[in-house]
């Protein structure tokens, strides 16, 4: 017991030191890896993720006369300005403010979509989606099923900014994907940057099931790349392999993908090993084939997410992977995540599964 305690405190000390060294308080905890491959040929423009989302909604409003966009302060663009200029372009009856009432916004969107409109609802922060939880879980997800397929609200997409931003504290930092991933009937999607945000959002808007689209807010401005200007979609339910190797499979989504890309790079430089890095993109339903084929190849798997460990979406992945890949596994599946604690105001750097914590777990897994 005593030795266990000392081991823990040494680790903790190292952890604290690492954090001190590499994430000076409140500076961003990752390096952005832009996408180099374009999903379609043709003209591109440099866009950050906010502009790419704006562009996807612009195309939707232009081409789909039933499309409407609403949410708190959306008329002047919303707090992150994703809807900037759209009211001027498409009018007040198509792009409008709602009062401050998330449950009402979700329910209104469900009704609107069920009646045939393409409804894009913005919830100002993912942390504020919980007043709307009942509508999303008990209404949106179940309309099709409980009406025997007569009604659906598939034309509803709920967009909301999520995850750590550097200084968000308790109510501007949470990553609630696992809550929604527990609900058959919903689709849950998280982009990792401008190109995927545009393509995945357009897919969600057109998908005939209700979608929760979680936008890692730290990427709105910090992530920029050359985005195709034309209309394109990226398939839902499919993961992307961003880097290939045979030593281990690293799985993440949203901001965490960039942390894992750096971890893979460090592992290659320091250890001479190559890893598969997978962006899950779709949390529900998720791409079992891509994930399991990779783990069968590498025999080792690390899953990282910002949300707490217990009942995080990593748990679902780990359970399925051990079932499907049991005889291929060379080490226990490792999860590197946020702590099982509320998201603290002063401890953000300690809370996040940053590259050093992921790297440490990876080396332990490689040496298992």
């Amino acid at each position: 017991m005593a030795s266990l305690v000392t081991k823990k405190s040494v680790l903790l000390a190292r952890l604290v030191k690492n954090v001190g060294d590499c994430t000076k308080r409140l500076s961003s905890h990752f390096i952005y890896y832009p996408d180099n491959e374009k999903p379609v040929e043709g003209e591109t423009t440099k866009m950050n993720m906010m502009q790419a989302i704006n562009n996807a909604m612009d195309l939707t409003l232009k081409n789909d006369p039933t499309a409407v966009l609403f949410g708190e302060d959306v008329a002047f663009g919303g707090v992150f300005r994703c809807a900037l200029g759209l009211q001027e372009k498409y009018g007040k009856d198509r792009v409008f403010n709602t009062p401050l009432c998330e449950q009402g916004i979700a329910g209104f969107g469900i009704g609107l979509a069920t009646a045939g409109a393409t409804a894009i609802a913005e919830i100002q922060f993912a942390d504020y989606i919980f007043p709307a939880f009942d509508q999303i879980i008990n209404e949106a997800a179940k309309v099709r099923y409980r009406s025997g397929g007569q009604f659906d609200c598939g034309a509803l997409t709920i967009r909301t900014p999520c995850s750590a931003v550097g200084h968000g504290g308790l109510y501007h930092s949470q990553s609630p994907e696992a809550f929604f991933a527990h609900v058959p009937g919903l689709r849950v999607v998280v982009p990792r940057g401008p190109i995927t945000a545009k393509g995945l959002l357009l897919s969600c808007i057109r998908e005939k099931d209700p979608c929760v689209f979680l936008e890692p807010k730290i990427l709105y401005r910090s992530a920029a790349e050359e985005v195709p200007v034309e209309d394109y979609t990226i398939p839902l339910g499919k993961a992307q392999v961003l880097r290939e190797g045979d030593a281990a499979t690293l799985i993440g989504w949203g901001t965490q993908v960039h942390v894992l890309l750096e971890v893979a790079q460090i592992a290659e430089e320091k250890l001479g090993v190559k890893c598969d890095v997978i962006d899950l993109q779709s949390i529900l339903p998720w791409d079992e084939d891509t994930v399991c084929n990779s783990v069968k190849k590498t025999g080792r798997c690390l899953i990282a997410h910002e949300a707490p460990l217990t009942s995080g979406f990593g748990a679902e992945l780990a359970a399925t992977i051990q079932e499907e890949c049991f005889l291929h596994l060379e080490a226990p599946i490792s999860r590197v995540t946020g702590w099982d604690a509320p998201f603290p105001h002063v401890f953000e750097p300690f809370y996040l599964p940053d590259k050093w914590r992921c790297y440490q777990s990876l080396t332990e897994m490689l040496n298992y």
Binding site: N97, P99, L100, P131, G169, W339, D340, F350, Y351
Partner: protein, 399 residues
């Protein structure tokens, strides 16, 4: 309390617009001022389902005049300091200033008794101070330091003090809690009243109406206070609310509209509310019309959805501190020197606390896993590195 109300109730001016009344001169007893007391007319209240409203004349002693002035000044100063600390990047995250709205909190606090309780949203720095926290406790919570009222773990929106059930980050969520706290007052029979504050934007959250209904159904000693500052973030009240008569939106709950820029009006109205609730008549809705000078939070310049002229106009004609200052000076309840003295004292106190809030240490990382549960069944908190869990600890003293 009930003694005050009937005596002033007969002074009710109904709907006639009244001008600031002439001072009632009495003998001087305070140190420098020339009068010990004066009375003031209050801008008429608007009433919903009430036959009689709060007193329309307020008596102010010179002693109280100085005390209110000091509180108004210190609240303003705390916010100025917070704004500066934010600009220096010492306060990070979210920070919502109360400047312009001081008369609401200060007047209410002046009427409240020790047994009464308050819960509000995130614009909570001033309230925390008025409920007994030190300036350092407030500012060092904002800077995330150990001396902060929540040990730096909450930050700007999550301040607490005795009988102050906190700042709350989820818009509207505090209001049903207020009904619960009101029920506790009633159940315990402690005679206390709960004041649950929310904004004009929050007034459109469904849970308010659930709280209203419970409060009236069980006649709880609970006052729902809508601080109407005209905007919820960038949306003006006309664009967010089908009815902007917030004082009447409790429907079956009587309501009062109050000039929230006049500290005497908010004080008298609050006295009335306490009297009403403690005599078992159930809840009230009180709308305080006020104004916020800053943007919604520090990241909002606050000028894209309203004009600079509008802000200037309020500052010049309705500022809760300037107008009050003029009033007490012209009625000779205080001298300019006395107020200057207070200003200097306030400046010193806030400056000292500001300096201190920059150098206090942060809590240790072991508190990341502190106070998640009262007693954690599994003493370790998992996450990040499964092989190195944190120990769950109890930081707060338990009684």
């Amino acid at each position: 309390m009930s003694k005050i109300i009937p005596s002033v109730a007969k002074l009710l001016a109904g709907n006639t617009v009244t001008k600031v009344g002439a001072p009632v001169a009495t003998t001087s007893s305070a140190k420098y001022s020339t009068k010990s007391e004066a009375s003031f007319e209050i801008k008429p209240y608007k009433l919903h389902k009430l036959e009689k409203g709060p007193a329309t004349t307020a008596t102010l002693t010179s002693e109280d005049a100085l005390k209110l002035y000091e509180q108004l000044a210190i609240l303003r100063r705390i916010e100025t300091a917070s704004g500066n600390l934010y600009r220096e990047k010492i306060i990070r995250g979210f920070c919502h200033l109360y400047s312009g709205q001081e008369a609401v909190a200060v007047g209410m606090r002046a009427a409240m008794r020790d047994v009464d309780t308050v819960i509000t949203a995130y614009r909570c720095h001033g309230w925390t101070y008025l409920m007994g926290a030190s300036v350092l406790g407030v500012l060092s919570e904002l800077t995330g330091r150990r001396t902060g009222v929540s040990r730096g773990k909450g930050g700007s929106m999550h301040l607490y003090a005795k009988n102050f059930y906190g700042g709350n980050g989820i818009v509207g969520a505090q209001v049903p809690l207020g009904a619960g706290i009101g029920f506790a007052h009633k159940y315990k029979g402690d005679g206390g009243v709960n004041f649950a504050l929310y904004g004009d934007g929050a007034a459109n959250q469904g849970q308010l109406y659930e709280a209203y209904n419970m409060a009236k159904l069980w006649d709880l000693p609970c006052v729902f206070v809508c601080e109407n500052n005209g905007y919820g973030m960038g949306t003006s009240m006309e664009r967010s609310s089908a009815s902007t008569d917030y004082y009447s939106r409790g429907d079956y709950i009587p309501g009062i509209w109050v000039d929230g820029m006049d500290v005497l009006a908010t004080r008298e109205a609050t006295k009335f509310c306490i009297d009403w609730c403690t005599s078992g008549k159930g809840p009230l809705v009180m709308e305080m019309e006020t104004y916020r000078y800053s943007g919604h939070s520090m990241s909002d310049p606050g000028t894209s959805y309203r004009t600079r002229d509008e802000i200037q106009e309020v500052r010049q004609t309705r500022d809760p501190i300037t107008s009050y200052k003029d009033k007490i000076l012209s009625n000779e309840l205080a001298t300019p020197d006395q107020l200057k003295e207070i200003d200097a004292k306030v400046r010193q106190e806030v400056d000292d606390a500001t300096k201190q809030a920059k150098v206090e240490p942060e809590i240790g990382v072991e508190e990341l896993a502190g106070d998640i549960y009262v007693d954690c069944v599994d003493p370790v908190i998992r996450g990040v590195i499964p092989s190195a869990p944190l120990q769950h600890i109890s930081v707060a003293q338990r009684n």
